[in-house]
């Protein structure tokens, strides 16, 4: 966020703003739904066990915080809601601000998922067909006079 500092005046009110660098994180479920009102814990690099900051995400699952640049290193942000959650590691440099670097805890896109589902399903179905075929061959052998058992789909 960059801009020029301005002032707005009204009766007895003075307002001002300044730009700063913050880290914005959005938590989403696998389904793509935002983790609305998720509890968030931020851990500084020098103390990964005690939260440096705790808070709550907004209704879009977004949480923003300004890291202490005097503590460079890997900051960890944990989202949790109803037994679901994830931890994200964000590298923060003492000089360069973290804003502008985008990250994700991963996950497959829909095309990759489709390919994976296809491959997995084919693998499972292939296994089933293999055993079914084997059973049918055994059945044929049984019809030829050998002992066998009937196949189950």
């Amino acid at each position: 966020m960059f801009g020029t500092a301005r002032h707005a005046y009204a009766h007895g009110v003075s307002m001002s703003y300044q730009t700063t660098e913050v880290i914005e994180i959005q938590g989403k479920y696998d389904s793509g739904e935002p983790m609305a009102d998720a509890q968030v814990a931020v851990y500084a690099p020098d103390d990964p066990s005690t939260p440096w900051l705790t808070g709550t995400a907004d209704d879009q699952g977004v949480f923003m915080f300004k890291p202490d640049l005097s503590q460079p290193g890997n900051w960890e942000v944990q989202f949790r809601l109803a037994g679901h959650g994830d931890i994200m590691t964000i590298p923060v440099d003492a000089e360069s601000n973290p804003v502008g670097t985008r990250g994700s805890t991963g996950g497959l896109n829909s095309v990759q998922k489709l390919i994976v589902f296809g491959a997995m399903t084919w693998g499972f179905v292939g296994t089933a067909l293999y055993f079914s075929g084997r059973k049918q061959r055994m059945q044929k052998s049984a019809d030829s006079g050998l002992q066998s058992t009937p196949s189950q789909f």
Binding site: D30, S31, A82, G83, G107, L108, K113, V116, F131
Partner: protein, 219 residues
């Protein structure tokens, strides 16, 4: 429903692996009693695939969203094969699509696999009523119960595990309220999975009735 890595303490994860190991041993021991243990492998393979894919089918239940589990269906159709099938399915879900986790694989297997075995026994309970009920009605009712019991027990185990292991970092009352909401969202899913299980069982009974022997006491 799947508990991801980093949610449960290490002790619970290790306990989950221990119970899952025992349950797997017991299930395999029961499977060995079959005259031909490979006979049900094709069916187990197909239903493992169904279980693997089911977790990606989200059902919006405001304000939350839940997904199919199908552990009751697996219990009804596979019997003791259901536990290893669920274990394999969960492993692939964790590794490939990131549902659940490897540290919580044991816990998730217990959470979904043991209710599947209970669902199997619920389904076998139809043998006690076939004297008075028509076969198709008994099959449909007990398949519905198996499907509903499977997911219902899993939701209760999930609830118990998550509520009792909330770390001090987070506000327990907020998290508890969220878990209550998510658990209640599984009540409609019990109806959906029960209906789906009954539909599948009745369909299979029509095309392959020898899968469900009637008028005899089932073990």
């Amino acid at each position: 429903m799947h508990i991801p890595d980093g949610i449960l303490p290490a002790k619970v994860c290790i306990g989950g692996y221990a119970i899952a190991g025992l349950a797997t041993w017991y299930a395999l021991r029961q499977i060995r009693h079959d005259p031909d243990p490979t006979q049900s492998i094709p069916r187990a393979s197909l239903l493992t695939a169904a279980f693997f894919i089911a977790s990606s089918i989200s059902i919006p239940v405001p304000p939350a969203s839940v997904h199919l589990v199908l552990n009751g269906l697996l219990g009804a159709l596979l019997g003791y094969y259901a536990f290893p099938a669920i274990l394999v399915g969960l492993f692939f879900q964790a590794v490939i699509i990131g549902h659940g986790g490897l540290t919580t694989l044991g816990v998730n297997a217990v959470m979904m696999g043991i209710p599947a075995l209970i669902a199997h026994h619920v389904f076998q309970g139809r043998s006690y009523v076939t004297r008075w009920w028509k076969d198709r009605i008994a099959l449909g009712v007990f398949a519905f119960l198996a499907g509903a019991v499977g997911i219902g027990l899993s939701a209760l185990i999930f609830f118990g595990l998550v509520v009792t292991t909330i770390p001090a970092t987070f506000d327990a009352s907020t998290e508890r309220a969220a878990v209550y909401g998510l658990t209640l969202a599984h009540i409609p899913l019990m109806v959906i999975e029960g209906t789906f299980t009954a539909f599948i069982v009745l369909f299979l009974n029509r095309v392959k009735p020898e899968l469900f022997p009637a008028k005899e006491h089932l073990s």
